[in-house]
């Protein structure tokens, strides 16, 4: 963006602006664009979810407002704006007002590092992934503020559940991302996407592979397990069924949102759907190549770039469009899986949620980190790192051995952990039952 504006303002128009002004203009433009895009995505997601879940329940869903009901979210938004904003008399007014803002703001920040297409990233931070997850945890503070300020037992219960859940599930989410970080050796989201070129086998592992943008990490055992674990953790982070415990409407009304109405409630809703969009997007970016796909790399290479000054800007445009298309298609696919899970599974109990996170997901992701290390050791390391028995192997053999070994580690770990977990749950169930039977006077 900076180069483009600089070329336009100082080159073509010859206005001679200072560098900081051009940079400011560029960032303001990008930020404005994202602030417009985020609510539109949220509106679309509400419509998408309602239509998809309706189909899963043999219904049609909203189809009255506009063609196939596409303007339904607009109608919902208008309704939300015209509702009365109620603040409970016993509430802490200022914290109550501030909470939705604290929840929404981090989700907007998270857009800063998400790449939409080739070269289409607001900021290419070298710690982008860390930034993404660090900033997302701030919204837990907002949730706690909302629950506390509402002065309502349901709200407080919901907030405590939300914070407990977010804190517990951030660990498996980050651990599964660490496996990918180990494979790529970078925290930059842009470079993680760039490392996923190739055809089933990534070009990073096997230099000779034709690059059609399909070397996604999900095709490796490490990436597959990481993707599954991350997606499950993302369901919990985004408070989606079966982990929608914080707002379990049949138990605690709407959790921390109980005392919110009007546009404040709308902001929570916005934050939730934007967060879901971002979690789906980061799943697509980290494990499924983001904008990578057949054709994008080739189009981008034909386009105008510092490496290729003779290229045509038309190719840049098409590369961007195709990249954004692939990115959004993958993101919407993952959101469809979220809806699918919502259609299929009932809500977990709080103790089940904690057990699953701490006793199953975290050990599994830890094992996955080990197999990521094995993968890196076999495919990358050589004699200079002190690993000389792979020196004579061809890259394809290295890749094959790494694949088989990590696959074996992950499958064995999964089966063992599943068995252990099932045994632990069964034992716990027996203890519960004994407690229950023991407390009741048994009459023969």
């Amino acid at each position: 963006m900076y180069e483009l504006l600089d070329a336009l303002i100082n080159g073509r128009l010859g206005l001679g602006w200072p560098g900081w002004a051009v940079a400011l203009l560029g960032h303001v433009a990008v930020a404005t664009l994202l602030f417009l895009v985020a609510p539109v995505q949220m509106l679309f997601f509400t419509y998408y979810e309602r239509r998809a879940i309706a189909r899963m329940q043999d219904r049609i869903g909203p189809n009255r407002v506009g063609p196939e009901g596409i303007w339904q979210p607009i109608a919902d938004g208008v309704k939300m704006f015209t509702k009365e904003d109620i603040v409970p008399a016993a509430a802490d007014r200022y914290v109550h007002l501030l909470a939705p803002i604290v929840v929404v703001a981090p989700t907007m920040f998270m857009f800063a590092v998400v790449p939409w297409g080739p070269g289409m990233v607001p900021v290419d931070l070298n710690v982008g992934l860390l930034f993404f997850f660090a900033i997302s945890s701030i919204s837990a503070v907002g949730l706690m503020m909302a629950g506390w300020a509402s002065n309502n037992k349901f709200a407080l219960l919901g907030a405590m559940r939300a914070v407990a859940q977010m804190v517990s599930y951030e660990i498996p989410a980050v651990l599964s991302l660490i496996a990918i970080v180990m494979l790529t050796g970078t925290l930059s989201v842009v470079q993680i996407v760039a490392a996923q070129g190739g055809l089933v086998i990534s070009t990073a592992d096997l230099p000779g592979v034709p690059d059609v943008g399909l070397g996604w990490f999900i095709f490796t055992p490490v990436g597959l397990l990481a993707c599954l674990c991350f997606f499950i953790a993302a369901l919990a982070e985004g408070e989606r069924t079966p982990f929608d415990i914080p707002e379990a409407d049949s138990e605690i009304v709407a959790g921390y949102m109980t005392e919110y109405s009007g546009m404040k409630f709308g902001l929570f809703y916005l934050a939730q759907y934007v967060l879901n969009f971002l979690l789906c997007a980061i799943t697509a970016v980290v494990f499924c190549g983001g904008w990578q796909g057949p054709g994008v790399g080739w189009l981008a290479a034909q386009g105008l770039s510092p490496a290729n000054p003779d290229g045509s800007w038309v190719f840049n445009l098409f590369a961007g469009m195709l990249g954004v298309f692939y990115f959004l298609a993958k993101t919407y696919f993952f959101f469809f899986v979220m809806i699918w899970a919502r259609g299929a599974f009932p809500r977990l109990r709080v103790d089940q949620l904690m057990d699953f996170g701490w006793k199953f997901l975290i050990p599994l992701t830890l094992v996955n980190v080990v197999s990521a290390a094995v993968w890196v050791g076999i495919t990358r390391w050589g004699p200079e790192e002190g690993l000389d028995f792979t020196a004579q192997w061809s890259p394809l053999l290295r890749w094959g051995v790494a694949f088989a070994l990590t696959m074996a580690i992950n499958v064995v770990a999964y089966l063992t952990l599943a068995r252990l977990y099932a045994a632990a749950q069964a034992a716990r169930g027996r203890v519960d039952l004994e407690e229950l039977v023991g407390s009741v006077p048994t009459s023969a």
């Binding site: 899963m56 043999d58 259609g343 999964y414 039952l433 009741v440 048994t442």
Partner: protein, 334 residues
């Protein structure tokens, strides 16, 4: 086996099959996936579980079964123009929410009741659609309609009079062909019998103006002697000829005036004596045999009768027949 409260029942489900962990989740998702796939075609067969059942209401209409019932309507015969209702009051009696009200038509010449209905009102807002009225009607005059879009902006329009309740038999035949075929014979036979007992144009559906006019013309040409009594208006009716109701009202008024004279004289103790059962039994103005409740009822009846009598005095023998007046206005038109 008696299950006591608080006891724990352990259900033995047998050993679980050894399966790949997580396959249960995938099976659950597969079920939902099949529903999602199937939902893109419509399902109108209730033996199937896949497919969309939704009927998109304003565009698609449900096919209502014949016996569907919503609100009662009245039938009239298009050929003769006569209503099937004979004002037998069966429906009014059986109606659980008591929303059916009617008055019987009277021969304007003789003042005698005629097997036809003068005014018929149903309060649709309180009707519970039980269909008892249609079940009980011996003349198959009241039937249950299939129309269900009755919402309105004003409450009052849900009190529906005869003009809006009337439907031709053909309408009912269309919505419930077999049900009408079952009763058609006897209903029309009874109607023919009733038509003979209806003088003039009594019992004809008021919306059939041409039919009524034609019938009046026919009456004027074929039987001028018989038609003559219908033309003299109310005032010319002899004062001595009163309908039974008018007689009863007069009688009640006279009785009330006689009763009211002593009751009016000491007004303050009267309600007190009627009200308190715990204090003195107020022997002064109430005969000792009568208990307070009866006394109260009697007094209420007396007041009502007095009011009725007063109304009677203000408007002496009123022309009792709206059909007659309608006949008079319709005659020049036809």
């Amino acid at each position: 086996m008696a299950i006591e409260r608080g006891n724990v029942i352990i259900v033995e489900r047998g050993r679980r099959k050894e399966r790949l962990p997580g396959s249960g989740l995938l099976e659950g998702m597969a079920v939902v996936w099949r529903h999602w796939q199937g939902s893109f075609r419509k399902n109108r067969s209730f033996s199937q579980i896949h497919g969309t059942f939704t009927l998109e209401y304003p565009e698609e209409r449900p096919k209502l079964p014949e016996a569907y019932r919503n609100m009662p309507i009245l039938l009239y015969d298009e050929e003769t123009g006569h209503e099937l209702c004979t004002s037998c009051f069966q429906c009014q009696r059986i109606c659980p929410p008591q929303v059916i009200h009617m008055t019987q038509a009277k021969d304007p010449a003789t003042g005698k009741p005629v097997p036809a209905v003068a005014e018929f009102v149903i309060e649709y807002d309180a009707c519970m659609s039980c269909g008892f009225c249609a079940e009980v009607c011996p003349f198959d005059a009241i039937k249950m309609d299939h129309e269900f879009e009755l919402s309105t902006a004003d409450h009052g329009s849900l009190t529906v009079a005869k003009e809006q309740l009337n439907r031709p038999i053909g309408y009912y035949e269309r919505i419930a062909p077999t049900m009408w075929a079952e009763v058609r014979e006897q209903a029309l036979k009874k109607l023919q019998g009733n038509i003979k007992r209806r003088p003039g144009v009594l019992g004809m559906a008021p919306n059939l103006a041409e039919k009524i006019a034609a019938r009046l013309r026919e009456l004027a040409t074929t039987a001028p002697v018989e038609a003559a009594p219908t033309t003299p208006p109310g005032p010319s009716a002899p004062a001595g000829r009163l309908s039974p109701e008018e007689k009863a009202a007069r009688l009640a008024a006279i009785r009330a005036r006689n009763d009211a004279a002593p009751a009016d004289a000491p007004p303050p103790p009267a309600p007190a004596g009627a009200r308190d059962g715990h204090g003195e039994p107020a022997p002064s103005d109430v005969p000792p045999a009568v208990n307070p409740a009866d006394a109260k009822a009697a007094r209420l009846a007396a007041i009502r009768a007095r009011n009725a009598a007063r109304a009677q005095e203000q408007a002496p023998p009123e022309p009792p027949a709206p059909p007659a007046s309608r006949a008079r206005t319709d005659e020049p038109e036809g």
